[in-house]
Amino acid sequence: MTRIEEGVFRSMLIGRQDKGLTMRRLYAASFGLAILALVLLALTITNEAFGYVALVYKIEPETISDRPLAELNETELVALLVEKAPGQLPKMVSDALSPMDLQTFARASLKDSLAGKQIPAEYADKTPADIPTDERASVMGQILADNLTQEQILELIEAAILQPTVSESWPLFEGLFNRRAIEERLVELFPDEITRPELRFKSWLRLEMLTKPMDSNPLVSGVRTALLGTVYLLIIVVLTAFPVGIAAAIYLEEYADPNKWYNRLIETNIRNLAGVPSIIYGLLGLQLLVRFMGDPATGGLGLTSGQAFGIIDGTGRNIITAGLTLSLLVLPVVIINAQESIRAVPPSYRDASYGLGATKWQTIWRTVLPSALPGILTGIILSLSRAVGETAPLVVVGASTFIVQDPGLFTRFTALPIQIYNWTSRPQAGFRELAAAAIIILLVLLVAINTIAFVLRNQARRRLQV
């Protein structure tokens, strides 16, 4: 007797297979959609970070030289500097060639301040302050001409004399595919053909962004201070959230009795905390770290603002509080992830370890943690990526938007996402594009962090498999 009818089985078989095919197409479409979104993101950022600009000079290049500046040699260019901006030359030398700051440089002999550089022998023992005022500019110019390339001097001329500003900017694709509209717009803006600036290609993403601090001119502004801020924040997160998170996970998984109501309550709450909006953590950081533990002037303990460590002018709105706030933010995710990884360690490993006379701690340290490590590292990748991109809690804790000095632990600070956020909301031409360039830097940083964590995780995994 058969209860499964052959006809029904046959007719349904085709439908069953079809269903599988449909689902497969759906999955492929979802994947395609994700890829499309990524490509669009990349295109948008590229479109913004590169583009065309109309530069307006404070002093037109034609008015200072008969020949195009690019054709002049070092000596001729330096002569222009000496003529047009004599007062700025010592600063240029100090900035470009000496590790000292300007004040120290002015009082140090040239052979000390410019060790290893070419300097005129007769001035080697003199300090810039010793050199008579009428000679100083030409001596400094000589040093520049001897030590810098033509392009470098050209840049100095741009910054000191020409002082270009962005009058108007266009994204890359518009410049490539809609050139005519841009030309028309230029004519409209500058009816006079003689003063009309020429349309130039501009890569907003420049290597110097990494080393230059912020500036109010988008053409020369960098992200050094913001990048440092972000890196410091990450270091604080790594140093605080990960040890605490992993330790808490070990406690919850290995020691806490899951039958006790308070342990279950704590676990449930950690899971809920992982979903709390980041701005709430910002408020927590503001109240707890900035106000309560911060500036004594407003009734705080002076711990996070540095008074407890002898820092006088700290306010609590600094890298420490921001970093700890981000730590609090990622802590639940780190704990949950480490817990899952520890739970996933096969019980047979524990049995084997205990069976050999291991104590609980030895079992955790020598067997459970090494096996859980790849999973824990995965969680760390996710948490670091989240911490790098967070903006809201930093705004609440009190990040600044314009920082020129490299940040210290207790000084005012900024971070890349804050900088990007700030730049995108500026009305002046050039800042949106600069923000796109900063986004690329942020993405590169993110990819770098993830690569490191990825390599570490794969090493840990390989150690387990051999």
């Binding site: 205990y354 050999l356 006379g357």
Partner: protein, 269 residues
């Protein structure tokens, strides 16, 4: 808790009951385990033979709510006395598990794991221990050139012998084996059985097995457990009990108990 040598029994299980919470899983088991002999625990699934085995090296302590009543004497000392540290018990009474469970480490590190726990740091001492343990476990010739290879890369039978070598490395004098061959093919099983015959001159072995032929082949003594029931429907409770204990020869040829006779002849279980 060192052995004094005068006691003829390595392990003397005296009237123990094992509880999980308020549930009494095994009741009133008494088995004298002779030194340098192989004792087999047999019986149907759920009869408590593994539970008793895990009580001997206090592995049951790791299960929340588990508790043992009665006493188990190890060379005359009660393993459940308050001053006895279960960590020391497990080192003296080693265990080999049902499924081969080498650590995800190299063969060398697998065997060195135990000695390292106990504080052996010297490289040469560790090498000696690893070599002699692997030799005792009849694995040395197969792996001596691959000590850096992962223990997981070995075949199932080799993995189980690696686990035996790992157990031997901490110098126990009793080895508990919980169905050590149930996941292995017949040839690997034969290797393990031969190995047990060699090891028994130095160790006391207790083996839980589902395979009665294995019990006949390897063991000197056999303990037969069975399941008891009381109540009906939702009220029903089940627990394990020792039915008969004796020399293997006697258990399988002249069982004293009718239930034993039924079980060994394949009529139930």
């Amino acid at each position: 808790m060192t052995q004094n040598g005068h006691h003829p029994r390595a392990v003397d299980i005296q009237n123990i009951s094992v509880y999980y919470g308020s549930y009494r899983a095994v009741r009133d088991v008494s088995i004298p385990v002779e030194k340098n002999k192989i004792t087999a625990f047999i019986g149907p699934s759920g009869c408590g033979k593994s539970t008793v085995l895990r009580a001997i090296n206090r592995m049951n302590d790791l299960v929340p709510g588990a508790r043992v009543e009665g006493q188990i004497l190890y060379h005359g000392r009660n393993l459940y006395a308050p001053d006895v540290d279960p960590v020391e018990v497990r080192r003296r009474i080693g265990m080999v598990f049902q499924k081969p469970n080498p650590f995800p480490k190299s063969i060398f590190e697998n065997v060195a794991y135990g000695p390292r726990l106990l504080g052996v740091r010297d490289k040469n001492t560790l090498k000696e221990i690893v070599e002699s343990s692997l030799k005792q476990a009849a694995l040395w010739d197969e792996v001596k050139n691959d000590l850096d290879k992962s223990g997981l890369a070995l075949s199932g039978g080799q993995q189980q012998r690696l686990c035996i070598a790992r157990t031997i490395a901490v110098e126990p004098d009793v080895i508990l084996m919980d169905e050590p061959c149930s996941a292995l093919d017949p040839i690997s099983t034969q290797h393990i059985e031969e190995l047990m015959q060699e090891l028994v001159s130095q160790y006391t072995i207790i083996i839980v097995t589902h395979n009665m032929q294995q019990a006949i082949r390897v063991s000197d003594y056999t303990a037969f457990y069975s399941i008891r029931k009381s109540g009906e429907g939702k009220e029903e409770t089940r627990w394990g009990e020792l039915v008969e204990f004796g020399e293997t020869q006697q258990i399988f040829t002249q069982p004293q108990n009718a239930e034993t006779a039924d079980y060994i002849s394949g009529r139930f279980g």
